[in-house]
Symmetry: C2
Subunit: 473 residues, 2 copies
């Protein structure tokens, strides 16, 4: 397939691989967690203080047991998702402390906001997996908020969800609660029901929270995205090829730990590395370097036969304006076209992760639908081409009134629910609304129409009791 | 290269080709121009009334003489552009009757607007070729406006430009004026200095204006985009594969005429076919079907070894909002990634071609820059990876203060001139401007800073006199 974006040759990928092997062997990666260090030691790794060194066969062995494709089970099995190879999922934004409104008003996010995002995800046609910490609720105690997020994920939405990676205990809470949801922990030990995000601390470190969460998740067969988010020129090299090498070393180190804990546990090769803005010194996620890195990361993941993760609808804009549209669409479509399997941040993010916007969530969601439609292949059969019909209509004829047009016109094309195709008169009559203003009305409608999915009342009670018990512990 | 968009197999393309051959042979194409019919008759085509029939060898012969790559010469040779294979150009919007302002105010376009677009193109870092009829000036007499547009294109901008295809005489005027600009008509008979847009009238027709313009352009070795703009379900089949067949027949018929007139004249395989919106019955150019068609059209053009043309930053939105951003970025990046060579409408279009927006022009222009940056390949040399530097910084080290970061940080990354990377405080201090509002200020700055490119005063005088003489004829 012709593509003006860079195709890495086998030789290029070997070069990145070999440089990462050099780093892993000679510089090593720091794991700030005792159990992680013990696991590495037990498996013959050289460990010096917190620094773990890797030999190429260690990496090769880990890559052999990591699956190239896996299913995340939802409590409604119709909503199970597959991740890997040609299969991919769209997820909401992650980790935003603020909510931005249509007028540019910024406020701290609350638990109610979190719940509302769960409701929008439940009713979404295109966001097919629930996230984690779409917003950070400011009105909940920090130490126990993960329990509330888990509970909302499990009760308000029956799609598969992301798990809690906040700490060892936070992770175990998530697994206990998933056990309750699935009628017993034994039921999920061979069944992946969550995917959690494990970020390295660049350069070349894993924090204690992340390392211990990774171990517990792997132990319980819950999938982990091992991701590196390097700011080129800040927490990593100023050139993107250096970034590819550094992130590769970090990701492979994390994946190796997961496979040592439990060979075969699903892992995802993740990155949203991007450039530093040279004027502000801050990370830019609207930068074209982000899309370039996404495209290259997808290729490196395929090189290792691993599912891949990147960001999606990312932007530096602080309101859902044309900049937000352009930047988000470029990154989202790059991720999806280039073969990313786990597209996080596919909806809602504004301002380099600082805020979520309900309106932008709906706009991005529709962009996901458009991208999916772009991928729908033409049938290219004699029937779909229908040369006889084209001949029958002939020169200067009319297709609008042809029976085939009537028959197919409601199913053949993408039908937007938000994007406007009004003519200027109709648009003026409707108050010349921008799409973000129109989305505001739709958010209210969607939330009003939301219905909580059915759940066994006994399970709901047990989940709620677990949360209460842990909060009072 | 892995790509989630559809790759046509050789067999698929043969199928589309064969169906088009069937149409060309048995249904034919109507050319509403006497000279066109005579040319076809003289070359052995069956002609019945205005309908011309084509045998496959006629098409094959035409394709043999059509170049796969050509140069459009600019009066500043530094600004020559290459079109075909890996080389591509971005052009402004085309044919909009209105101008839309930031507040959604719509007014008829004027000659001053046209001139201002010429000035923005002249000062653009990314739009590398001037267009034609970016807006239709309402304040100029219809019969002679093409002379004014030519004059502005030639005097206000020294980039290569699109030519006038409005009629036989309109085309000849453009060629005469180009002759003056190049110091004599003889100087351009072997040199392509313009590209003109020849649209078919779907299904299966060429109007007298378009057919006669095509003949004169080809005769004078000026490049023609032969393009089909089918509204699937309106002026063509309701399925996109039917559209591919119909547009293929139309484009190949036009290209054959051009090659009969002058074998070897540069031609471009063009389409911006898209879907009809089923609610309004109007063409939707924000639809994902547009991008899908662009991607498939690029493949069909490569099948024939021809340069390709599509639309770029197209949208149905009536203001430069997030919808405009999403739709424009999807079509623009699809065109550029998928290998289109002549990307028309890369800047400014709103509302399904009804209006141009100066602000959106600047936003789209920056999107072009971002897309170009996405294509810039990594060096992937030992020097650019610089493993020693990564080892030196080591675990938990700092790249920000490394000399290499200082050395490269101003050249390594894309520097936006419009897209905001402000933090919320800075953005709030600056009045929480949306990108379209920020663009408004930039438009004024760009126009104020514009300088008319130097030109031989004698040539300028002759051009002006030609226009005056023709207006008074």
């Amino acid at each position: 397939m012709y593509d003006r974006m860079q195709e890495l040759s086998g030789r290029d990928m070997e070069k990145i691989h070999n440089a990462a092997m050099d780093l892993l062997k000679n510089t090593g990666v720091s794991f700030n967690d005792q159990e992680a260090l013990e696991i590495f030691k037990k498996n013959g790794h050289k460990v010096d203080g917190n620094t773990v060194f890797f030999k190429e066969p260690d990496i090769v062995k880990a890559l052999k047991t990591a699956p190239r494709h896996f299913t995340v089970h939802a409590r409604d099995p119709e909503k199970n998702v597959k991740i890997g190879e040609d299969d991919f999922v769209f997820l909401p934004g992650y980790g935003a402390p603020f909510v931005m409104d249509v007028k540019g008003g910024q406020r701290q996010a609350t638990m109610e906001d979190y719940d509302n995002f769960c409701k929008l995800i439940q009713t979404s046609s295109y966001i097919n997996m629930n996230g984690w910490m779409m917003v950070e609720p400011s009105d909940m105690p920090h130490d126990t908020v993960h329990l509330d997020l888990n509970l909302s994920n499990m009760l308000l939405c029956d799609k598969p969800f992301m798990g809690s990676p906040v700490s060892r205990q936070g992770t175990l809470d998530g697994i206990e609660m998933a056990g309750i949801l699935w009628g017993g922990k034994d039921n999920i030990m061979d069944k992946t029901v969550s995917v959690s995000l494990i970020n390295s601390l660049s350069p070349l470190q894993f924090s204690d929270e992340m390392a211990s969460a990774l171990i517990e998740l792997a132990r319980h067969n819950q999938a982990c995205v091992v991701a590196s988010l390097i700011m080129a020129g800040g927490s990593g090299p100023v050139t993107l090829d250096g970034v590819l090498v550094l992130q590769n070393a970090e990701i492979l180190a994390g994946i190796t730990l997961a496979q040592l804990v439990r060979p075969g546990v699903p892992v995802v090769y993740g990155s949203t590395s991007s450039a530093m803005d040279m004027k502000t010194g801050a990370l830019s996620i609207g930068a074209p370097e982000l899309s370039k890195n996404i495209h290259l990361t997808a290729q490196m993941a395929r090189f290792y036969n691993l599912p891949s993760r990147s960001g999606g609808s990312l932007t530096d804009a602080l309101c859902a304006d044309a900049q937000a549209g352009v930047e988000s669409a470029l990154a989202l479509s790059t991720a999806a076209r280039s073969g990313i399997n786990f597209i996080l941040h596919a909806g809602g993010i504004l301002g380099s992760y600082i805020a979520m916007s309900f309106e932008k969530f709906l706009i991005d969601e529709e962009a996901c639908g458009m991208v999916l439609n772009m991928f729908k292949p033409l049938a290219l059969t004699d029937e779909s081409i229908d040369i006889d019909m084209i001949k029958e209509v002939g020169i200067g004829g009319q297709y609008l009134t042809h029976p085939k047009t009537f028959r197919l016109c409601r199913t053949e094309f993408f039908m937007p629910s938000l994007m406007s195709r009004k003519n200027p008169d109709a648009w003026t009559r409707d108050g010349k609304k921008r799409i973000d203003q129109a989305a505001q009305d739709k958010v209210a409608q969607r939330l009003a129409a939301y219905e909580k999915p059915d759940i066994d009342p006994e399970i709901e009670k047990q989940l709620t009791q677990y949360v209460e018990k842990r909060k009072n512990a």
